[in-house]
Amino acid sequence: MRAIEREDAMSSNPLVLKLQHGAHIIEEGDRPDDVHLVLDGFACRYKMMPNGSRQIMALLVPGDFCDLHVAILGEMDHGIATLSPCTMVEIPRATILDMTDHHPRIARALWWASLVDEGVLREWIVNLGQRDAEHRMAHLFCELLVRLRAVGRADEAGYELPMTQAELGDVLAISNVHVNRTLQTLREAGLIAFKGQRLTIPDVERLKAYAEFTPNYLHLAEREDD
């Protein structure tokens, strides 16, 4: 984020929230007045089905806005919950509108963030629709490595992944038991290793090749002609 945006956000005294794992920040149908930005931990966008199952449509990591929609759209069409202990900052909707009205560069940065969210969503649709469980999971692990490295929360070969197997299942649309089997398969193939909550990727290029992962949809580099 750019310095000017940080200053503006600071000047309006944003509220910092410390949240437990499993906290519901916003539920479907809410009309919140604040926009949440993740400073630490993992959160997700989700929808609950009438039968009690849950689909997670996005993972939100430090630096991600949870609900930029709130500033412009009315009612939330999905919920936001934490997947680990989380620190978030609450920015009043009015502050976001004021910043975007007066700072075109910030408006463009927020627009960019929304476009990248869409890019990730497109890739997730492909992932869920076209890849089997093992490649799907491998792809997610590659994506998280790149995203977490971009915000300094991963080193070259791994990161803390605080999610439970059930939560991974809700992301990947596979059952808890199948998550377990899939993790075992990837582990036995030497593609990943777990030590507690830390995921280690012994050979990143090998995992990327296996998952057919290309980071282009994350749009981490700006356009060069701007």
């Binding site: 469980a133 093992e134 059952s175 808890n176 199948h178 089997r181 075992q184």
Partner: protein, 80 residues
Amino acid sequence: MARYYFDVHDGGTHQRDDTGTEFEDLEAVRKAAMRLLPEVARQDLASDGDRHTFMVLVTNEDGRPVYSATLSYAGLWLLR
């Protein structure tokens, strides 16, 4: 909550579950097996052949079998 192990047999191959998964009750175990077998079949069926039997054997923490289920695929050429 108790831990259950889901070993999957797919024709010649056998995948042992070393870590297990926790469930509230036996009904949840049955539901999990029901959801698991189609997932395994979807993944492994494409490999080859016209006959496949997918079987899951669920054991509890004492290693005692508590539930088993089988899903079969039988393909037959009628014109070739």
